[in-house]
């Protein structure tokens, strides 16, 4: 189905957060810390205040009244302490964006700097075991005897993989417009969840939630970076309070790299053993990640190992170190994405070492129930995805020998990796109302560019058995019935459930239906619910330059019932494209000397261009899973990025015989390996 708001978007009528017209608007621009650790000793804003158009300077010289238990990343100007380079330490509000930006540069901040520590390393003495990893998993699990399993194995691998910090780069920068009307605050924000954003803003500012409204009708991408309230929204509200005017803020691309979160760098040690037939005898996945000194954000990168393969001995462990860095946050498939890169690369190494086809190795180790917890799977079609992918990709007859295929100057190889992502739902409310011959669906869902509005339209039309053209979906407003955020691949499953129930009630009532799925959503305990997939890559490597090109990427996914093929395909293909970026080019470079990140624009932080993705194909296997939700859907926003980097890395090894275990796989690293 075509996007219902497509025409509004291409004609420019769809308004994004920074685009709402409002009279008397002022502009805020952040002043960021020039040190990575220490204290602000003085803020000289005299020159800035005297500059043209300047209305106010906000800083810890005049701390605002913010909730003491709020997210420390949001407690702007409440402390003189600096936790990372780039942290917001002051802000200028002026009549124009340019005046605000110019004056922000004139604010002189003096620091008492302390030595900083910004680099994650495997032997960092500050590593510790967190109480839990995101969102609420145990940090460590042990089943069976890993040492015995490895000792008794016919083949073992013991390898270390690492991934760099990675940044979400949505096209629309994080932006907000705060408007005070009496005692009511409206924030037009670029957010993945208007209701949660409203709650966080209200709590941080010490306001009752009913006095805050968040409007976010269109969002130009988020990938997780807009899943939590970011400091710009609080800054806009504080600036509106300070000046009595509506205040707009739009972060620069450079600022996105500082204050909107990032994927933690990860270091993985994988120890795998199998018997002569390929059956795993042990699987040990130990992960090291970083967080800030402000919050403990523990990326759950070893969690997918608890789901993937049958093994008598399974150990997973997470260690975390708190560094003088910005707080990591959500990035597409947190946990699964870096974790499956490492696990699926190690599985490929085991397959090579054991002389077993990498697809067969995975099939051999297909579990009957979830390996760690023992729950039955609500549905699991990894093997079907591998088989279907192999057929479509042309895997049969593949020569496993590395480094032996050439096409002209190019070394050619192919690789495979598995994907997984949990299928979850959260409670949501929705209403369905018959109005003037149309059916209006209302809920505070978010369409962050995924097509959620369109998919919900289709779901409602299906539930009501009316043409989609008679359904209108209103979302992106916290005044609408409460709904969870777009994240964790839970959005559509959660919202859709409430929409179906509201439509069912409307059909009974004839006029109006209201639903709250608090009773039925998020049922746990009885089944392990996960989507699975298989990804295939063909790569070409230039042996003279180390350049890697990916002429073909192919994924087959099993994610419940696909609600809209066009939207689903774009989610899968988008995820795979992002996974290609992770494999070959994306890397935020931690600046060891100054703190923060050294590269912070799209010329230095490369994401794939069209020329990098000539042929990315996504297919799916229809699953009929009665244990999920009324739509039978598993969520598809994230699984596409899971496994891509491993498939490409495995293909690079197949092409060259060189195993690069430190992403991204750059020409420099490959040349060093040749």
């Amino acid at each position: 189905m075509n996007r219902v708001e497509g025409r509004d978007k291409v004609t420019g009528r769809a308004l994004y957060a920074a685009e709402y017209p409002v009279d008397g608007v002022a502009h805020a621009y952040a002043v960021q810390s020039g040190i990575a650790k220490g204290r602000v000793t003085a803020i000289d804003a005299e020159a800035a205040r005297a500059m043209p158009g300047v209305l106010a300077v906000l800083s810890s010289d005049d701390p605002p009244d913010l909730a003491g238990d709020a997210d420390p990343e949001l407690r702007l100007f409440s402390s003189r302490d600096v936790a990372y380079r780039g942290q917001i330490v002051a802000a200028v509000v002026a009549d124009t964006y340019e005046n605000a930006r110019a004056a922000a540069r004139a604010v002189r901040v003096t620091y008492a700097a302390e030595p900083h520590d910004v680099l994650l390393r495997a032997d960092h003495p500050g590593l510790y075991r967190p109480e839990k990893v995101n969102p609420a998993f145990p940090a460590d699990t042990v089943k069976g005897d890993v040492t015995a399993g490895l000792d008794g194995a016919a083949v073992t691998v013991d390898v270390t993989y690492s991934t760099p910090p990675l940044h979400n780069n949505p096209m629309e920068p994080h932006a907000a417009l705060a408007v005070l009307d009496g005692d009511r605050l409206t924030v037009y924000d670029s957010t993945q969840g208007a209701a949660a954003d409203r709650d966080t803003i209200a709590r941080t500012l010490g306001l009752p939630p009913e006095r805050v409204r968040v409007v976010s009708r269109h969002v130009g991408g988020g990938f997780g970076s807009k899943g939590t309230t970011r400091p710009h929204a609080i800054l806009a509200a504080l600036a509106a309070r300070a000046t009595g005017r509506p205040v707009k803020i739009a972060l620069t691309r450079q600022q996105l790299f500082d204050v909107t979160g990032y994927r933690t760098p990860t270091i993985h040690r994988l120890r795998l053993g199998c018997d002569a037939t390929g059956r795993l005898t042990a699987l040990d996945h130990e992960v090291r990640v970083q967080s800030s000194t402000l919050v403990e954000f523990a990326e759950q990168a070893a969690v997918p190992a608890r789901t993937m393969y049958a093994t008598p001995a399974l150990r997973t462990a997470h260690r975390l170190v708190r560094l003088d860095v910005a707080s990591p946050s959500w990035m597409r498939a947190p946990g699964e994405c870096p974790g499956m890169y490492a696990l699926e690369s190690a599985m490929d190494e085991l397959a090579v070492a054991a002389g077993i086809d990498p697809i067969e190795l995975r099939v051999i180790n297909e579990p009957d129930a979830e390996p760690e917890g023992g729950l039955p799977f609500s549905s699991r079609n990894l093997v079907a995805c591998l088989r279907e992918g192999a057929r479509r990709f042309g895997w049969e007859g593949r020569d496993p020998a590395p480094g032996v295929r050439r096409d002209g100057r190019w070394l050619v190889g192919t690789g495979v990796a598995a994907s997984t992502y949990p299928a979850m739902t959260r409670p949501s409310q929705a209403t369905a109302t018959a109005e003037d011959g149309a059916f209006v669906i209302r809920l505070a869902a978010a369409d962050i560019g995924t097509g959620a509005r369109t998919a919900l339209t289709a779901i409602a039309a299906g539930a009501l058995d009316v043409p989609a053209g008679r359904v209108r979906v209103e979302l992106g407003d916290s005044d609408l019935p409460a709904a969870p955020l777009a994240g964790g691949s839970m959005g559509l499953a959660s919202w859709g459930s409430a929409v179906v129930r509201a439509c069912e009630e409307l059909l009974r009532d004839g006029k109006h239906g209201a639903a709250d799925t608090a009773g039925e959503a998020g049922r746990g305990g009885d089944y392990a619910r996960h989507a699975f997939g298989a990804q295939f890559a063909e790569v070409r490597v230039d042996p003279d330059t180390g350049e890697v090109r990916v002429p073909r990427l192919l994924g087959v996914f099993a994610a419940g019932r696909v609600i809209d093929p066009d939207l689903a395909r774009s989610q899968f293909v988008g995820g795979m494209t992002m996974g290609l970026g992770m494999a070959l080019m994306e890397e935020s470079v931690t600046d060891a000397e100054f703190g923060g990140f050294g590269n912070h624009d799209l010329a230095q932080y490369h994401v794939p261009a069209c020329a990098d993705v000539p042929d990315v194909r996504a297919y799916w296997i229809d699953e009929d899973d009665p244990h999920l939700n009324p739509m039978g859907a598993k969520g598809i926003g994230e699984i596409g990025i899971v496994g891509t980097a491993a498939a490409i890395g495995n293909a690079v090894h197949h092409a060259t015989g060189v195993r690069v275990r430190d992403l991204p796989i750059t020409p420099a690293k490959l040349l060093a390996g040749f």
Partner: protein, 323 residues
Amino acid sequence: MKAFEYTRAADPAAAVAGFRPGDMYLGGGTNLVDLMRLGVAEPERLVDVSRLPLDRVEAAGDGLRVGAAVRNSDLGAHPLVLARYPMLARAVLSGASGQIRNLATVGGNLLQRTRCPYFQDVSKPCNKRRPGSGCPAIPGDHSHLAVLGHSEACVATHPSDMAVALAALDARVHVTGPAGSRVLPMPGLHRLPGDEPERDTVLEPGELITAVELPPPPPGRSAYLKVRERASFAFALVSVAAALDIGADGIVTGVRLALGGVAHAPWRAARAEAALLGAPAGEESYARAAEAELDQARPLPRNAYKVPMARNVIVRALKELTP
């Protein structure tokens, strides 16, 4: 961004005559405007020279004269450039993106600044931006920076692809300024950093590039190869502009080699050329020539890969040009 004035020059003479301290010439603005937003460039006034009547590509005998305001897109697609200087067309079209090439001018392309991450971040030291403040790239992230001709003050690279081809083609840059007009050879417009890394070129304040003149193309075949980890829209890790002519007896009778992505200026590989001229064409000679050039490389820990990469690409380019 600091407030600035904007004026549009009527002709080159007026642009130069009216030039005052704090002015900067504006071409397509694809680099300068970025630098102004970042606070790296803070002109008092922009003198827009993009609409001067310097937008023609004209045959000059068997050579070519390219106005400084010619857009990169137009240069890369011009029939005379495609016919006579395919190396230049390839270089221009391998740079930036279609949208940027539509705006970027020949003069501006030559005068674009380094993309060294420290240079572009005003919160950090940089000798090029703030002389004497230090070069954090040397102990820090120099992974994309120079391996040839750098100094203790600066390891920046010049980012242009076009300039590498021009350096190989013996282009001449026409300049007019307060002290009159002059012609600068390529290479020769750009300088090595030495202890004055703040100076990218030998241009004096107020000097304006008006045209680039190309002598008749070198005999033989030519190529431009560019290495980058992303298939498009990325600066070169290493690039090579090469032209090769081989006599009937298999002896190299003419060669041009220039490297991009390795130095503060487009790097004419004179030692490699000298080693090749008169040598038998073939991989052995090409490898020896590349070694002769790269013997003088002084890689840093994170950019050492550029030396074998450059060697391989030189050999590859020459082999591709060998019938």
